[in-house]
Symmetry: C2
Subunit: 356 residues, 2 copies
Amino acid sequence: MKDLGHGANVEQIAKTYNIDPKEIIDFSSNVNPEVIKDLDKYILEGLKESRSYPDINYTNLRKNIGDYLNIKSEYIIPGNGATELIYLLMKVIGKRLAILNPTFSEYRRSAKLNGLEVIDLNLNEENQFLIDIDVIKNNLDKFDSLFICNPNNPNGKAQELNELLNILKQNNKLLIVDETFMEFAGNEENYSLVKNIKNYDNLFIIKAATKFFGMPGLRLGYGITSNKDIINKIYHYKEPWTINAFADTLSKYIFKDKEYIENSKSYYIQEREYMLKELRSIENISVYDTDTNFLLIKLNNRRANEIKVELLRRSKILIRDASNFIGLDDRYIRVAIKSHDDNKTLIENMKNLLGD
Amino acid sequence: MKDLGHGANVEQIAKTYNIDPKEIIDFSSNVNPEVIKDLDKYILEGLKESRSYPDINYTNLRKNIGDYLNIKSEYIIPGNGATELIYLLMKVIGKRLAILNPTFSEYRRSAKLNGLEVIDLNLNEENQFLIDIDVIKNNLDKFDSLFICNPNNPNGKAQELNELLNILKQNNKLLIVDETFMEFAGNEENYSLVKNIKNYDNLFIIKAATKFFGMPGLRLGYGITSNKDIINKIYHYKEPWTINAFADTLSKYIFKDKEYIENSKSYYIQEREYMLKELRSIENISVYDTDTNFLLIKLNNRRANEIKVELLRRSKILIRDASNFIGLDDRYIRVAIKSHDDNKTLIENMKNLLGD
């Protein structure tokens, strides 16, 4: 099997370090530790549905997502996680794709596997890895589509992209925005471009349902666009039945649970503040601003892998060594924001290890 | 959304004919109506696992399948249904793919979408749609790989392919066998080529776990080969996390339930005999031999779509109009073998409609 360099594989790590996988506190994956109420009941309903083939058109699933986002269901293309949409898109867009590094590695992998030319633009460390519109403007001639992760993985800061969307529209460029982590942001309405879908046919948004809803193993993502040409081309390539019956069934419930959604949002707003404050009290590390459920940290005088191994050995804490992100080096780590107790454990151990 | 022409979409049909979808008896999909015991319990275990990312290497899943088939887990490539494997294969095999028509339409679709040249060989109606090795021998120069569905969909007869495997080996051709319906066959050991995997590097077998185990909505399939070059190429293209946590977890249980497996096999052996006998008592139709859980029927003087609509309107029975299979015409229908009571209902209605 190929190592794609994602968040660590807990089972494998457990074996390597001779730890019971159940004891590992996994800060390497960015997943909401809370789930909606009555999930057991809904999953057993999904079990009944799994006895027959999923609706090949996913009519109800698309309607449930459309209602959640307040847009037409015909703009929605559901997928087996956000990943399926990323790969499908690469088959149907222009030949030159610009990527802002550092970012999620599957954009590049899917582009390369589909024969696209990848144009690397860089997010600058001195600029906190924020998007610089001038850099994009100066490179407009070089790409057909621009792929942006907002909030970006690994740094986590959400950004307003309205001006950028307009510039790209005027120049006939496609803007692809991966909003997988957008629900974690406090001012989602300021940052998300979903409200622009209807009026911008140069926009394609990708979302994953299951990070915010705490179930990455459910595999549910979706693409959103009003561009009929892109929609038709994607359906031309899309494989049938890629979304399982449990995801289809749960879409009736997760998107409607307003209380859960609000509580999760509030939790993250508060917990981010706590973690930023505590982590920033540690000397010799820099902690980047975030609007989502993970934090990028730069170690001033230690190596990422060293810290990763020490945290594992000492405290069974697993973090993400972020040195394999293009544009980062071996001083970067990424940690998820988990339950308050887990976060306290992490902070305590980081303080012990790095000195406060 | 594109109509891919598969077994009917119950929700859509229900809407069109103004029937409650729950009342439709669906003979259009070929799925075991029984499931293993304690499935609820295992699904709730899967729910716990769904809270984190699936193991990207699917180590346990591959081991469970390997144990079931009595082969090394390194020969197994799990997928989101058999479909994912079919599509991956098309990216890594030679340019010319021979297909024996009529057969499952996704072989052709996936080949075309990946730029392969499809070489159409025909199964002959006079020969009961059985494979004629001479036809393949006479066309050896025309293809690099041969795709066979065994038992074949839509006719359902299993065939011994050992001689064919050897001929293709001697001629450096790849044999791809879709054994999705193999577990339903009575003498599986005579027909399945899994035992040849280790010694034939020109063999790739595809299986779907969830038709025989009655859960197509779970989405679990797998490919099997000892050809390292093909394995490496597939992993080069494979998208991460395509199999959901429920499928991963259930693999611990479904493949080990020997009693369920034996009971299902016995049931189908007996029920096939009953259905063949009863259906063959109806004049004006021909019923093809089958070793699996569906039957192909030729109507002598009625049109498939006519019968489909009449069965729906009169009795809420949904069958598969098989006229869109390449090589069939508008006189062919396909029906699943379901529970004995459902089957009795079908037979009774077929007798009423077609005269006995």
